[in-house]
Structures are given as structure tokens and as C-alpha cells.
Amino acid sequence: MTILRQAQDDIAAGDGVCLALEGVSKRFGSLSVLEDVSLKIRPGERCGIIGPNGAGKSTLFNIVAGELPCTRGSVRFLGRDVTRLSAHARARRGLARTFQTTTLFPRLTVIENIVLALQAGSAERFAMLAPRGRYRARDDEARALLDRVGLARHAESPVDALGYGDKRQIEILLALAQKPKLLLLDEPTAGLAPADASLVTEMLKRERGGVTMVLIEHDMGVVFDVVERLTVLHHGRVVADGPLDAIRGDAQVQEIYLGGKL
């Protein structure tokens, strides 16, 4: 209850904008990766970012998440300027992300992975002298989340022992466990077999009512299933931005990205 109200307050403070990038540029030496990128994401929106390899999609995510500083421009999240905030401070404000290459805790059990995501904002993360068994409610919460994607049977296995498809689902589950206000998904179905990819797509479709999403994806099937708006990056610039159908029909986009008709 309080969490929901907090979210509404934050969104009100943000003038109805969840994430706003203004003139974001990124250079690595003489290489310009992002050039004057401006983007507004409204609360509840599901936006896809597409573009050829090297277009700057992942760099953009790293700048929004706070892993990389931008060379110019500003990042506003829920109405506050977070340009100079660290990655963990942004995460605490409700920004969650997944990674293109699975970034979990391989030697911890599945449930420990989820618990780490759940306890990130609570005081118990500093509890040193009580065994984790004392915090059973946390484990139950984690188990309930695992149940939602049918992975509860793996709760006690180390993540390393799981198949790639299961790992990709847990990659997303960790971000969902953060109860984010904005979720950045970096190629969630990368390298997945079609059956596993559709599991992930289903998972995202289930969540799409509740959370603002930005999705980087190469699989157009997934993009069309999940998002309602598309932004196209090319050579570090936004070349098109609009509702799904408008972008689908955009001749320039078809030429540079798809090399033909969709």
C-alpha cells in the first residue's frame, strides 16, 4: 500500500514522465557512441529500442543505469536529475535492469539469488549476527516469485546448475523482485531457443501492466508482442520514435535496420 502511494507521489513529482534523457552524448576517446539522444518515457509505457549492432543501445542502458557517465546531457528519473548518481543509488530509487549476458550469482542457490534482490532495500541486509533462517518470510516471498514462473523446484540448486533458459528467466525475475518503477531489459531473449524465448515473452507480457519497461531486442517477434512504442537508434542517434505501427511502416527504418520490409 505504502509502496504504491510512494510510486504515485514520485510519478506526480515527475510531471508524468518516468525517464527523461536530454541531449545525452557519449564519447570513448574520439569514438562517438551516442550523439545528442533525447527520449521521454511516460509511466506505464512499454518502449522498445532497436537498431543494428553498434548503434549504442547497450551504452544507452549503461548510462541510464548509472554504470557509465555520459559525456554531455542529463538523465532525469521520476522528476529528479540523477545524472551524477551512482548505479546503486539509482537502483534504490526504483530503477532495475537486466543484462545482455546473464549476470547472476552463479555459486549461490536460486533462492539466495532472489533473496539478494528482495532484501536490497531493507535493514536486514546489515543483520550480521542472526542466521538467515531467522528471516523465513523473505525466503517465502522468494519462493512465491519462483512459483510464478514455475521454477520453485530449483530453489535450492546453485544457479550454475540450471539450464540457460531458466537462467534467463531468473535474470528477469531478479529485476522484478526489486519492485522497480522502471525496468530496463537488455536483450532478454538473446541466445534462447524459440521455446524458451516464448517463455520469457510470456513472462514479460504478464508483467506489462504493472511496470514501465524499456526493451532492447533483436527478435522482432518479441518486440511486437511486448512493446507499444519503438525508438530506433542508428550510429548513436535517434532516427525514429513513435507508435509501433508508425515505425513499422517507416521507410527509412526499413532501409537502415531491416534492409527490407518487415
Binding site: 543505469a65 554504470e67 551512482s86 548505479a87 546503486h88 543509488a89 537502483a91 534504490r92 532495475a96 535492469r97 543484462f99 549476470t103 547472476l104 550469482f105 552463479p106 555459486r107 549461490l108 539466495e112 533473496v115 539478494l116 534482490a117 532484501q119 536490497a120 532495500g121 536486514e124 541486509r125 546489515f126 543483520a127 550480521m128 549476527l129 542472526a130 542466521p131 538467515r132 528471516y135 523473505r138 540448486s157 546453485p158 550454475d160 546448475a161 531478479l174 529485476a175 526489486q178
Partner: protein
């Protein structure tokens, strides 16, 4: 069943440890065992950093030595000699040193962190060696007297043996508690994947910093016990050689096992004392032992015990340490899968 077996083993070990000095074991060996308890504490403190936080700290001897020098300087300059104040002084000095070390060393990660901690250890060693008016320089500080612990006089070796045993047991208990707590899970997360921890909202730097100070508290306690044990402190106690030796104990004992450090400390203490009587090149033998352990028991000596036990019972060893070794995650991770395939 497994938990009960473990309890029996621990209790039996404790009873043996308590009885040893009473069973006519020569005083010499009682002293070596006392040293083993002391070094096991400092080795555990380093294992806590390496095995649970992922920080390979080469300045552990500096923290250990600062604890030891705190006893000597406290006694000679400030007349602090009572048991509790001296232990507190040792802990506070070591933690304060680690607080400064952390500010410098945690600006980098991985190899950079290792190199900075080597430099920090050398700085502290240089201070102890050259700041003669405070540290006594190469001559060190002599004449440290073991204070009574409450009503007990521990000036004799047997009494002191029990003091060190008690500190070892308490340290092991506390560290195991921390490692199993929610905070301990955060440290393991930092060890595994700092990048994801940041994305989840954890201040990775802060947890590493806290872990360094917790580790230093135990290293400092061990240093205090070491100063009382020798009734002398010299710069050798905080040399880089000492840091390396502590690291060797941790690798021998088994990274990420905590209690395994008892085996690591035992081997190094006994080899160094027994063999140095025979040959000056005892470190070559230690090198060979080290090589064999790293090649054939990369999880540390501690994994050998259950493996031998399993073999005695005619089962194929399908054995995984509870917290596997840092460097062999691939190999260890495959083990449960193999075990599962067995009918």
C-alpha cells in the same frame, strides 16, 4: 543425521583440544598448538575476506602486527596492561588501520587491490622497522607480560593454551554466524558478481569496506595473542613474508571454509618448527606440500577428511565443500551434477 555427525565431530575435537595439555603432551607441542590456535584466527580473518567477500588482501600481517604492537606500545608507553583493555586496544588499532587501508585499497579491484595491499603492508613494516623511538626498530619490544584473565593466572604455557583455544572457538563461532547471516549473503553476492549487486541497489564499496574492518578485528585479536605468546614483538610479525604465510595457510586449509584454517595453520606451524630444527630449507618442504595440495586437493586439506571417510565406507567420493574454492568454480560446480547421476 549429517548435522548430528557434525556436532559429534566438533564436540569430540573440542574435548581432545581441552584434554591435550593434560595428557602428558610435551610443553613444546603445547606451545606449537597454542601458535596453531593463534594463526588459525588470523587465517580465518583472511579467509573471511578471500572466500566470502572476494578480496585477496596481502596486508593481513600488517593488521595482525598492529594488534601485536598495540600490546607492546600500550604496555611500555601507556601502562595499559589489564586483559580486557589490551584486547580492546588491539582490536581498535587493527580496525582503525584497516579503515585507512580500505580507503586507499578499495579504490581499485582485483589485481590492483592486491598490489596496493602489498604496498600498504610494506609501509607498515617500514614504520615498525625504522620508527625506533616507538617500535624499537629491528630489536622490537621485549618484556610483555601476560596479564591474568579474571581469576586465572595464564603466565604458564598450559594456561595460555586455553586462552588461545577459547579465542579461536569464539572467533570461529562469530565468523560462521556472520557468514550465514543476511549480511553474509550480501558479501557472497559481492564476491560473485559485484556488477549485479550494484544494479540491485547495493553499495558494493561499503560492504567491502565493512568486511575489511570486520576481518581486521579478528586479525588484531590474533596479533594481541601473538604478542602475549612470544612476550615480544618485532617487525617480522608484520612483514610481507608473514602476510604470504597467512595466505598459504588459507589456501592449504581451504578457501571459504573458515574451520579449514585450523588445518592450514597446523601444517604451517608444525612444519616451520619441526623442520627448521632439521634444515634451514624447511620452506622448500612447505613449497612441496603447497604444490601437492593445490594440484590434488584444490579445495584445501579440509576436503580430504570427508573424502577419506567416504572411501573408508566404500563409497566413491562425490564431495563438494560447502563453500567451494574461489578459483575452481567450474570444476566444483560440476560435482553436484556428477553426484546426481549416481543411482
Amino acid at each position: 543425521m549429517k548435522a548430528r555427525l557434525r556436532l559429534i565431530v566438533v564436540l569430540a575435537g573440542l574435548v581432545i583440544a581441552l584434554l591435550l595439555p593434560r595428557l602428558g603432551v610435551p610443553t613444546f607441542y603445547v606451545s606449537l598448538l597454542t601458535q596453531t590456535w593463534i594463526f588459525a584466527i588470523v587465517a580465518m580473518s583472511l579467509d573471511f575476506l578471500i572466500g566470502f567477500t572476494g578480496l585477496v588482501n596481502f596486508s593481513q600481517a600488517a593488521l595482525f602486527g598492529v594488534g601485536a604492537y598495540a600490546v607492546a606500545i600500550g604496555a611500555t608507553k601507556f601502562h595499559v596492561t589489564a586483559f580486557v583493555p589490551v584486547v580492546a586496544l588491539g582490536i581498535v588499532s587493527a580496525v582503525a588501520t584497516a579503515a585507512i587501508f580500505g580507503l586507499v585499497a578499495l579504490r581499485s579491484e582485483g589485481v590492483g587491490f592486491i598490489i596496493i595491499t602489498i604496498a600498504l603492508n610494506e609501509i607498515v613494516w617500514g614504520l615498525a622497522y625504522q620508527w625506533v623511538s616507538v617500535s624499537g626498530g629491528d630489536n622490537g619490544i621485549t618484556g610483555i607480560v601476560r596479564p591474568p584473565v579474571g581469576p586465572f593466572d595464564v603466565s604458564a604455557n598450559t594456561g595460555y593454551y586455553y586462552v588461545c583455544l577459547a579465542f579461536f572457538a569464539i572467533s570461529l563461532l562469530l565468523l560462521m554466524l556472520i557468514v550465514r547471516s543476511p549480511f553474509g549473503l550480501v558479501l557472497k553476492g559481492v564476491r560473485e558478481t559485484p556488477r549485479r549487486m550494484r544494479a540491485l541497489g547495493y553499495n558494493v564499496w561499503l560492504y567491502r569496506y565493512l568486511a575489511m574492518m570486520i576481518s581486521a578485528a579478528f586479525a588484531g585479536v590474533a596479533g594481541v595473542l601473538f604478542a602475549w605468546y612470544n612476550q615480544f614483538v618485532g617487525p617480522v610479525a608484520l612483514s610481507l613474508d608473514q602476510s604470504t604465510q597467512i595466505l598459504i595457510m588459507v589456501i592449504l586449509g581451504g578457501i571459504g571454509t573458515l574451520y579449514g584454517q585450523l588445518f592450514g595453520a597446523f601444517v604451517v606451524v608444525f612444519l616451520s618448527n619441526e623442520l627448521s630444527a632439521v634444515t634451514q630449507r624447511w620452506e622448500m618442504v612447505l613449497g612441496v606440500v603447497y604444490f601437492i595440495v593445490v594440484m590434488y586437493a584444490p579445495g584445501g586439506l579440509v576436503v580430504l577428511v570427508p573424502r577419506l571417510w567416504a572411501r573408508l565406507r566404500g563409497r566413491r567420493a562425490s564431495l563438494v565443500p560447502s563453500e567451494p574454492l574461489l578459483a575452481t568454480s567450474g570444476g566444483v560446480a560440476n560435482a553436484p551434477a556428477e553426484a546426481a547421476e549416481e543411482p
